[in-house]
């Protein structure tokens, strides 16, 4: 356990907490827009940003932020244009980003191992200033995501409605894109550019298995993201005495494990909800009495009770039984 008290480990833990909070916060809005892969795309583009930093000697974090924002706005513009071949345009952007990154890293005379720090994360090598940048950027992201929730929710839920409500739809769309870009670079040191999207999307997918409202989904996703981020880091640290375990993959795999464990619960909840959906409130065609019925239906009889107009039908062996005086009717 003593490994957790080393300075580099404390820095890593702090970075992990803030990354774990910020990534699912933006991720919720991306998933709401069905843009779950956008984080992945921005991550690819940011590789070029990192490489530019390595080439020019500037801080790779800031060059990555810059290039990621440009990439995110480009993606948003392509999305807004809504062209049929938009996904191809996005693919061009993604691959251009990663190929450019690898090429420029080579030109800069840096090894692939240096680039790998950014591709898969190297949370344990973060400096004090890196941690501060992570904290500040993550706080900005979380503040905007939570503070502007009503506006961002409305724009993502129904763009046309939001526009007629007088919201500046394009501003909010670009804001989400920029927040996503900032988050990608924040999470770059923790889980790496190639895995960052997982931390944005997987906690949201897990949370929505059990939630019914947007705000609980957002809150739970942030909680799960923080848990996965911290847990993955601690697990990899504890395992490091015997094996070489990178924190990035362990964080992502822990988040995925959370999803795998929650999915059956979500599937069961959805099934129960479907079964309990009310029947069309039309009266039955005629008065049809069930055959001899030894079973007494009630709230605890084990048969699904479904609302049907002003009464309840019990689903029994493919039939719908409604109580009618001393007997049951077929509905």
């Amino acid at each position: 356990m003593s490994i957790l008290t080393y300075d580099f480990m404390i820095r890593a833990l702090v970075a992990a907490v803030f990354t774990g909070l910020a990534a699912p916060a933006v991720g919720t809005y991306l998933v709401q827009r069905r843009l779950a892969l956008m984080g992945d795309g921005i991550g690819h583009v940011a590789v070029t940003g990192v490489a530019l930093g390595l080439l020019t000697g500037a801080s790779p974090t800031w060059t990555a932020v810059g290039v990621a924002i440009v990439g995110a706005i480009l993606i948003e513009v392509i999305r807004e244009q809504g062209r049929a071949n938009g996904d191809v345009a996005l693919a061009l952007l993604f691959y251009g980003g990663i190929a450019g990154g690898v090429l420029i890293t080579g030109l800069a005379g840096q090894s692939a191992a240096r680039l790998q720090e950014f591709l898969f994360g190297s949370i344990t090598t973060t400096s004090v200033s890196d941690v501060w940048v992570t904290i500040v950027l993550a706080l900005v992201v979380v503040t905007l995501c939570v503070g502007l929730l009503p506006q961002l929710f409305a724009v993502a839920q129904d763009e046309e409605f939001a526009q007629v409500a007088g919201l500046r739809v394009r501003f909010y769309n670009v804001l989400v894109a920029v927040l996503a870009a900032v988050t990608v670079t924040v999470a770059m040191r923790t889980v790496g550019l190639l895995l960052v999207s997982a931390l944005m999307v997987v906690p949201v997918a897990t949370a929505q298995q059990v939630t019914r409202s947007f705000r609980t989904t957002l809150g739970l996703a942030m909680l799960l993201g923080t848990g996965a981020s911290l847990g993955g880091l601690v697990l990899s640290a504890l395992a490091s005495s015997r094996y070489s375990v990178a924190p990035g993959p362990s964080i992502v795999l822990l988040a995925l494990l959370g999803f795998a464990l929650t999915w059956p619960i979500g599937a069961a909840l959805r099934r129960r909800q479907r079964l309990a959906e009310p029947f069309v409130p039309e009266p039955p065609l005629g008065h049809e009495i069930t055959d001899e019925h030894p079973h007494a239906h009630g709230p605890d009889c084990g048969h699904v009770a479904v609302t049907h107009g002003d009464h309840v039908d019990y689903v029994h062996g493919g039939h719908r039984h409604a109580i009618h005086g001393e007997h049951y009717d077929e509905h």
Partner: protein, 267 residues
């Protein structure tokens, strides 16, 4: 409520809309007066939805002008007076949202940035939900509702903003009869309260009783503007329509992960 000399709430003068360079709407002159209930009707592709989108500023005009409450659309800022129910079959998105949350977003026209909901907001949200008869479902996820109930949620969202002018684009498409009745009841309450309603509909059904004036579109132009017409008259060959129905299929999505390209959905 029909008022002959009430002020003009919507005025389209010489309006034209082009989609991708092709003229769609031409020579549209239409005024809607305060308190009126106007039905915009016509065959599929006649341009009735496009006209509503032009009136709400979602489609730019290629020529002519649109005025809302006497102000040109380009300089119009008083959006809390406008309610809009877009044409769609579902209130669902990629993340669960409760009925209350969707309806609450209708208050955004009246809320300042970064301010929590006030008491008046909460009262209006509850009242809007009660009007559409979903006051007991506010904590449910919208995906748990039927297509018709989701449509009522979208109407409640527009009502929550307490609009003076309500645009509805095909609110009854793919909605069963009991839900259409509930919808008609909600619109009657609103209209009797003095609000103006502009409704796009292919078939009026139970809404027919409420309509003061029918405007029938035919191939991008107004073919008829006058007293309400029965459904049989609207389907007259003059309006380029043999008998046809909308069969909007409600798209139901749960929140299990779906594989989608980054550009899927949205439009």
């Amino acid at each position: 409520m029909l008022t002959g000399h009430a002020p003009e709430v919507v005025a389209v003068r010489g309006g034209a809309v082009a989609l991708g360079g092709r003229p769609v709407l031409r020579g549209i002159n239409l005024a809607v007066h305060e308190g009126e209930f106007v039905a915009l009707m016509g065959a599929n592709g006649s341009g009735k939805s496009t006209l509503v989108r032009a009136m709400t500023g979602l489609r730019p005009l290629a020529a002519g002008s649109v005025e809302l409450f006497g102000t040109d659309l380009a300089s119009y800022r008083d959006w809390q007076r406008i309610g809009f129910v877009p044409q769609r079959s579902s209130a669902a998105s990629g993340v669960p949202a409760s009925v209350w949350e969707v309806v609450a977003s209708g208050r955004l026209t009246r809320r300042r940035l970064l301010r929590p909901l006030g008491r008046a907001d909460r009262v209006a949200i509850k009242a809007a939900l009660d009007v559409v008869g979903l006051g007991d479902r506010l904590r449910d996820g919208v995906t748990a509702l039927s297509g018709g109930q989701q449509q009522r949620v979208l109407i409640a969202r527009a009502l929550a903003g307490e609009p003076d002018l309500l645009f509805l684009d095909e609110p009854t498409a793919g909605v069963d009869l009991p839900n259409q009745e509930a919808l008609a009841g909600a619109l009657r309450i609103l209209n009797e309260g003095g609000a103006t309603v502009v409704l796009v509909a292919h078939e009026l059904g139970p809404l027919a009783r409420l309509v003061d004036r029918a405007v029938v579109m035919r191939d991008g132009r107004i073919a008829y503007n006058g007293a309400p017409l029965g459904d049989d008259t609207v389907h007259h060959p003059l309006f380029l329509e043999s008998h046809s129905h909308h069969h909007a299929e409600p798209v139901r999505r749960d929140h299990a992960p779906h594989v989608a390209a980054p550009l899927d959905g949205s439009r």
